[in-house]
């Protein structure tokens, strides 16, 4: 385990010298911030039409378990802000996907993998450092975005919305489901990266991982499902178990011989 830290340090240094890699996550974070405030606050203010005037929004927002003291506008804002919170599930995944996809195949192509494997570094340590190296920077950016998001809600949203957002549901989404889904996605990307010999192929496969998350988001937006705190906790735990299984599978399938001798 002691070998993870130096390799992780290398990942951060490398990233610090190649900041453009983080541009996608920054863009998604900015979109995650501007879209909800644009829809829930700015557009009604500009057009002069309150959110509560839209009967469909009023109906759909009923599924959000809002405090009875909230106005129609407040409840719809709460519903929208809760929905857009799901964007922060995708943010670290999209941002880190490029990093994770390149993790192993990138080292191989740069011919830096072989000297690395000649050290006492174990496969589990290598793969864990790669996952964390992709996850932590993007989670940091995503976390900063989230802080701005919650701060913005407290300042700009209708009275009571900020307080209603500070719920167990939000906590579970932010502290459990988001990092767990990112871990699963990135571990899968690392697994793919160690099984294909071309970074583009790894990235193509990696992007597929976003589909179930996007599906979940769309389902919530359409009002088809509303994930309760219990459901989110179960999803979070399920994702963590999936991550552990994927980690085990990644280590088992990491074929250093093929990587060294067949990849060009």
């Amino acid at each position: 385990m002691g070998h993870i830290r130096p390799l992780l340090g290398k990942e951060f240094l490398d990233l610090a010298r190649n900041k453009t890699t983080l541009v996608p996550v920054a863009i998604v974070t900015v979109l995650s911030l501007t879209l909800p405030f644009g829809i829930a606050i700015a557009i009604p203010a500009i057009t002069g039409h309150a959110l509560g005037e839209d009967s469909d929004l009023v109906r759909v927002s009923q599924i959000a378990s809002a405090a009875p003291s909230l106005s129609d506008d407040g409840r719809i804002q709460l519903f929208l802000f809760q929905q857009f919170l799901m964007m922060f599930l995708i943010t670290p995944v999209t941002g880190a996907m490029a990093l994770a996809s390149h993790a192993i195949v990138g080292e191989k192509q740069a011919r830096t993998l072989e000297p690395l494997l000649a050290t006492p570094l174990g496969t589990f340590e290598l793969l864990t450092a790669k996952v964390l190296g992709a996850l932590l920077p993007t989670m940091t950016i995503s976390g900063m975005g989230l802080a701005l998001y919650l701060g913005g809600i407290a300042i700009f949203a209708a009275p009571g919305v900020g307080g209603a957002m500070a719920s167990m549901r939000t906590l579970l989404l932010v502290a459990l489901v988001s990092p767990a889904s990112a871990l699963v996605s990135l571990q899968a990307a690392i697994l793919i990266s160690s099984r294909v010999n071309d970074a583009r192929t790894a990235q193509q496969f990696g992007v597929l991982i976003i589909i179930p998350l996007a599906g979940l988001m769309v389902a919530q937006f359409s009002g088809s499902i509303w994930l309760s705190s219990a459901a989110l906790a179960a999803i979070g735990i399920g994702l963590l178990i999936a991550w552990l299984v994927l980690t085990f599978v990644s280590v088992a399938l990491f074929d250093r011989e093929t990587i060294l001798t067949r990849w060009r």
Binding site: G2, H3, R5, P6, L7, G9, K10, L13, D14, R17, N18, A110, R111, T112, L113, E114, P115, L116, L117, A118, T119, P120, L121, G122, R256, E257, L260, T261
Partner: protein
Amino acid sequence: MISARHLTRRFGARTAVDDVTFDVGRSEIVALLGPNGAGKTTTLRMLAGLIAPTSGSVAIGGVQLTRATGPSLRMQIGFLTEAPGLWDRLTVRENLRVYAGLYGLADAEVRIDRVLELFAIAERGTARTAELSKGTRQKVALARTLLHDPTILLLDEPTSGLDPEVTRSVRMLLEQRRAAGCSILVSTHNLDEAERLADRVAVLDERLVAIDDPAALRARLTTGRTIIRVAGDPSAYVAAVRSIVGPAVDVAIERSTLALQLAHPDRQTPALVAALVAAGAQVLEVRAEMPALEDVYVHLMSAAGDEA
């Protein structure tokens, strides 16, 4: 000490290394010589525990190299890969610092200073490796290989593409490591380097064609001819030579030399020199004809090809 026993490695139907057995002793440099695709890199990778042999075994310091012992044995091994394998966006020091961490070195900075000074690249410590020349990159890779004071050095073409000055400094360094007790296996295409550096040369062409010290390898192809170099026209002294060796012996004139096969070199050579001097010749050199290592190598490889 490195001990390889009956190492065989197949990739599908292709055999890369076939039943190779050799040892590299303490304070010994063995050069692994062979054409492209002869299995040199595969052999080094098996010895470093990066790939497993299809059959056969490797022992490092008497301990069998296995999946379980690999990580601890790799602490004793310094493996220089064919490409320097440096992270381009990191500086020289940062590259070395990562490896110091991977080897768990407590005194990382001291060791980094030491290896950088060893290769005279201390002033390049803060340079990004992408900015370095090929020679300097190779020095950094070598510095990384020596960072943890390994007792086993496995070096894949360490001087490939380097200028003569850097090559010389690498050679000197390896001699120092040998004196310090390291077991060193160097793969190379460079026959001159093998001859200058190695205590023994292993000629590999999928299987081990020969392993011996360079002089012994050359002796395998010794013609037994004696070469006498004289000042002036050598044909003027053929009669003097024949007076000693008799008319039946073929005396070849090759530029400024006389070349002939002596039945009893130890006894006949002094008489031959005396006769030449008496005939007025200025004898510049008398030596037994020895083939170059290159000739031996070509001979061994063609013999190996014929057998196959």
